[in-house]
Symmetry: C2
Subunit: 136 residues, 2 copies
Amino acid sequence: MQDHITIARGGSRPVAAGSSEYFTGAVTVEPLLAVVEPSRLAGARVSFAPGARTAWHTHPLGQTLIVTEGTGWVQQWGGPVEEFVEGDVVRIAPGVKHWHGATDSVRMTHVALQEQQDGKVVEWLEQVSDEQYGRG
Amino acid sequence: MQDHITIARGGSRPVAAGSSEYFTGAVTVEPLLAVVEPSRLAGARVSFAPGARTAWHTHPLGQTLIVTEGTGWVQQWGGPVEEFVEGDVVRIAPGVKHWHGATDSVRMTHVALQEQQDGKVVEWLEQVSDEQYGRG
């Protein structure tokens, strides 16, 4: 049975380096919430050193980024690089191929929220090349 | 059409006092994200002065609180008051009658996340009396 109220203590969560399969540069990922049905929400706090970014990816039901530190870049495939800062909320629509990360000079941390569909919250694609990133 | 990527700037969101229908004490509510289907996620940053708390309420698909400041209390109907602190993540299961707020001596801020079902993210119930709150 699902407990009625659960408190996951801040110190109890492993903070891991982001996999080099899905990220470029120094990234840490702190899982905040896994899917507990009937909710379909999952979330993590992700911190990017300057120059670090995700690979290109899509989310079946979209993604929301609550920016808690620094300055970052986000880009959808074929679109301009857009800058965001602490306090901003970035929303990416379902199925939109995109990446996000720090700028090349300032670190960035966000809480990333995504909803599960058919057991998946993300589809990872190719890395963001230095050339693609450098256009920011 | 839904924009592919939208950035809501931090300074652009109205921060309002929490309605006295749903809260006791000094509470501010900053809406962070409204439901944009097919996502069903909504969220707000809520800040409670010492002694302030929500009314009793339920969420059809549960609620997640990402605690970003201070020390708070949460209680489900008939259960003990539980304390949480900055860095903790509190999850309340669907349909569970509960309240949350600051402790009586320290303010508390959290990001509250809930998912919509049949057009609703919350059902508000009666206020938390001083006696109920004081048992914390």
